[in-house]
Symmetry: C2
């Protein structure tokens, strides 16, 4: 062992002991007669002291050491004259009597401190240096704790951790598979799993009752800031349960994790139907850290109104007039309101405009639509929204889907602008009762919304082929702070119903057999009722760490072009290997 | 919830309670008036009782249910008249008042019992049915416990679990890589990791001090019974330690695991040098559950002996005359001895023959070489081997390497024949001081024995380029019952030494930079002294479960042609996908 203690361990009670430490030089300050070195390891920083007068050779040696040099120092623990209250070891220092240089270091290409001067690409290339920085280290330590606590909870609740394979068969689950050419079977490929979905169902058929795994999954997608080609999932499945049972178990898990890892008592985890979430927050993953709820005015507007946008909307089969109340928004500038208006008019949102209604501090009510609506009407709207003096309503109109999309996005934008997304606040909820199918405008077909193994609700079973738009599923998402962290469903355990759902998705018998034959077969050998969930582990980490990107909670992330900049991967392979693989 | 209790839970103290169970029908016995169903789940088996007289409809329904049907039964817990002491629930049965058929089952293609009639291929195709069998279930439950206990120990000892990536760069580590074509980077490939070796070293450079992970690794090898294309490894690494520190930590781990999971107190874990292991057991992974040690006779043989094989051997630079004492072997038949002789003469072993020396029960000493050696000489050999009356020596001669290989293999064969490989006995040891390089006869070059990041011993550093055959490494293997379960080393932490080892392996500067440039660079930024180990997790499971094949401790293994028979993977991919990948 190169040390008797680590750099975060020594206290005033150790004074007088001879100790040996090893670590990296964070700072090396030569104050003429005295030299102080801050020695750093994962556990903390301890100050080393050397005196030119009493120990000239050693001090001269120490003065040669640069930042990030690795050294071993032996000496006596001594009480400091000027203590550092911000450092747990700040009461003491080591009076060094022996120094060993264990390794030199080149000058790092960026500073290894809380806030570094290195750009992201540079820090990814020298990831081992970036990993030395405290913020990243804290994130990875939290992740470690979260991993242990998660497995402890699952194991304590009789879930079995069972490893599922990585070299599997390519199956369509919504995203593109990564594939692995087989050397032994010409022109054949394995696929890397997008999730262990089918294996966990197979494990339920196999009688394992409760399964979990924290496992890597793979999706060959074009990347965004919060996506990575490989990511980690907490995957679980239970038999002989109904939806409510799973929700309760997961609530217990999440509450346990926040308490164990962050000492946070989560607020009660509410349930909200998909339809309510869309109507009230314009999102199936509403951020409930703040209100800014969408309110509807349809019933307060005279269908004979002269205000054309509203009149037209009321004539639509599914037209909505709705808005958001911005607390203290009456003070907002014309420029800011115009920016919001432009925002909802962007083509992918598609509203035609917004009107505003201000309840000013001087008690007057002003509005961009004052020509069309009397003050009494405007006042009734303000009341309907529960507005107070100083508030402002922003109101739009149009087809339901555009209203939900636009006002949902606007809500988040306003929250950003008003700094309402508090990273120390956690607002968890379940979104339930998702539609079974989703209309694909481009292809003009119904697609599955969750995945094709999700069970329709009992009461909707007879609409499977006749009225797909009104079939709802036993599907549920776990949402925290506007992030969909988990998603799951009760699965189909009956082979006939599974075949019917494949049919509803437009699959021929042959296709269904080719792609999912083994599943249909498995369901015919006594599959129990079962359901489960997958939790985005990286995403949960970001929320707990209070960071924005999942790169900040992964040791070795890839960049937006799916490259590992440290390894310089992917790379070429030699001709012999290509030939062997038949490529 | 479909049940109030599981099928392993009810006891005599529950008598009188109304309960609901759910599970699979193991047996359904219609005894005329009475019907008994054994209902099974992961937790146990509970007997359901139905009476045709008191409950004709329900009983008639129950009589329709076949094996592996999934049912839900409600009823009153009743004390049994004839108790089953072999079943924890055997004191009670459920007097059924309500039955729900949850799912039917086809007739399984093999019996789902302890000993099944299904062949391995059939059982792999219907893995979900095979997984219902108790022996497989017990193995997977033990594996679950082992996973939890391992992480508990590591975490309690301040190791951090850190996930390393799966899409990495192809690097030569002895075996063939599985590769993954990149869609975004034409003609480029990721590789799946053969181990996270370089990442864990990078984590040490990053200051993480102690790392561990239980992680899947991949090798595209031609398969044998105990190999799988993907396997699980306990991977760990420590900083600021020396070899002895790691050995002690791992001993603690293994002792903890055997105690926790099997309630076994392991014997003390001995240390043996590679050279001693080869000389005494003819193997670098000696099975110490039994003795059958190799003994050497060189010093007892007159160099002028007329026995040609020995004479020739003594003239070789590295010739050895050696044998094994078989307790009670004097009774062995000529046929058996001939079989052993043929065994060591097989071409890949290459001995020319064996002589035998028997110390018979009637006190006579007989030998196939009696013509050449007097009884007194033969007696001295028997004494040298520590033989007793009734024992037999088998002795061969030849070059050291052939003697070690042949007698090492012979030792294992004899142990098999004498039933000395007791599955309930555990004999762990460390094999240490491995040679740094291994002579490749085919290519006539020195290759690395462990991997090229292994540190040579301090005292051998100057022989790196001049005397490769005599360079030893800080490398160590953990062996139990003749299986190499773990292997590790102290790593090179100095960039100059690493470059020199690459040179010793015949790599040019350019090759070294191309393959391991980032490692050499990382080592130049203050790498700490470090070392670690990788543990074959599947292999450890087989030893603890007392099974021979790692397939029996994996939920979804592949067959010898690397196929998943349930999924029928690998498979073809469509033309569009191939095109997108540039294949």
């Amino acid at each position: 062992m190169f040390r008797t203690h680590n750099c975060g361990q020594l206290r005033i009670s150790n004074v007088g002991e001879t100790v040996t430490l090893a670590g990296w030089i964070q700072y090396n300050r030569n104050l003429g007669g005295l030299t102080f070195i801050d020695l750093r390891d994962r556990f903390g920083i301890t100050q080393l002291a050397l005196n030119m007068e009493t120990n000239p050779e050693l001090t001269a040696q120490a003065n040669q050491f640069g930042r990030e040099y690795v050294i071993q120092a032996t000496g006596v623990v001594t009480e400091r004259s000027s203590k550092n209250k911000n450092n747990p070891t700040g009461d003491i220092e080591i009076n060094v009597t022996e120094l060993v240089l264990l390794n030199k270091s080149e000058i790092p290409p960026f500073t290894i401190e809380e806030n570094t001067d290195g750009g992201e690409e540079l820090r990814m290339k020298y990831r081992y240096l970036d990993l030395r920085r405290k913020p990243l280290q804290n994130n990875l330590i939290l992740r470690h704790q979260l991993l242990q606590a998660t497995r402890r909870y699952m194991s304590d609740n009789e879930f079995l951790e069972i490893e599922t394979p990585f070299l599997i068969k390519s199956t369509p689950e919504g995203a593109r598979d990564y594939v692995v050419p087989s050397r032994l079977h010409e022109n054949q490929f394995y696929a890397l799993p997008q999730s262990p979905q089918l294996f966990k169902q197979i494990l339920m058929v196999g009688g394992y009752d409760r399964y979990f795994q924290i496992v890597k999954c793979f999706r060959d997608e074009d990347l965004r800031a919060d996506r990575q080609p490989e990511f980690t999932q907490l995957d679980l499945e239970m038999s002989f349960i109904e939806q409510e049972d799973i929700l309760v178990y997961i609530e217990g898990l999440v509450q346990y994790l926040f308490k164990e890892v962050k000492d946070v008592n989560l607020p009660p985890i509410i349930r909200m139907s998909y339809n309510d979430a869309m109507a009230n927050y314009g999102s199936d993953k509403p951020d409930l850290r703040f209100d800014l709820k969408i309110n509807y005015l349809n019933n307060l507007i005279d269908s004979a109104t002269e205000f054309a946008p509203f009149k037209e909307t009321l004539e639509l089969p599914n037209g909505k007039i709705a808005g958001i109340n911005i607390p203290n928004g009456a003070a907002m500038s014309r420029k800011q309101i115009d920016a919001y208006t432009d925002f909802v008019k962007e083509p992918h949102r598609g509203l035609k405009g917004l009107i505003w209604v201000k309840w000013n501090e001087d008690e007057t009510i002003t509005s961009s639509a004052a020509k069309f609506f009397e003050e009494g009407i405007l006042k009734s709207w303000l009341n309907h929204f529960g507005a107070s003096k100083g508030d402002m309503l922003l109101i739009g109109s149009g087809p339901k889907s555009k209203i939900e999309k636009s006002l949902g996005d606007l809500r988040l934008k306003i929250a950003d602008d008003l700094n309402l997304k508090d990273k120390n606040k956690f607002a968890p909820l379940w979104v339930t009762d998702f539609p079974m199918f989703e209309w694909d405008e481009d292809k003009q077909i119904f697609n599955f919304m969750h995945h094709p193994f999700t069970s329709p609700r009992k009461e909707d079973m007879d609409k499977l082929l006749s009225d797909k738009g009104n079939v709802y599923a036993y599907a549920y998402d776990f949402v925290i702070n506007g992030s969909e962290v988990g998603g799951g469903s009760i699965r189909i355990h009956n082979a006939d119903i599974q075949a019917k759902v494949f049919e509803a998705l437009g699959m021929t018998d042959e296709e269904a057999k080719d792609k999912f034959g083994f599943l249909l077969e498995a369901l015919s050998f006594g599959a129990p009722p079962h359901g489960g969930l997958a939790f985005g582990f990286d995403r949960l980490c970001t929320i707990m760490c209070g960071v924005d990107s999942i790169r900040d909670v992964m040791a070795f992330p890839k960049n937006n072009a799916a490259r590992d900049l440290m390894l310089d991967a992917p790379g070429t392979i030699d001709a012999a290997q290509r030939k062997e693989l038949g490529l």
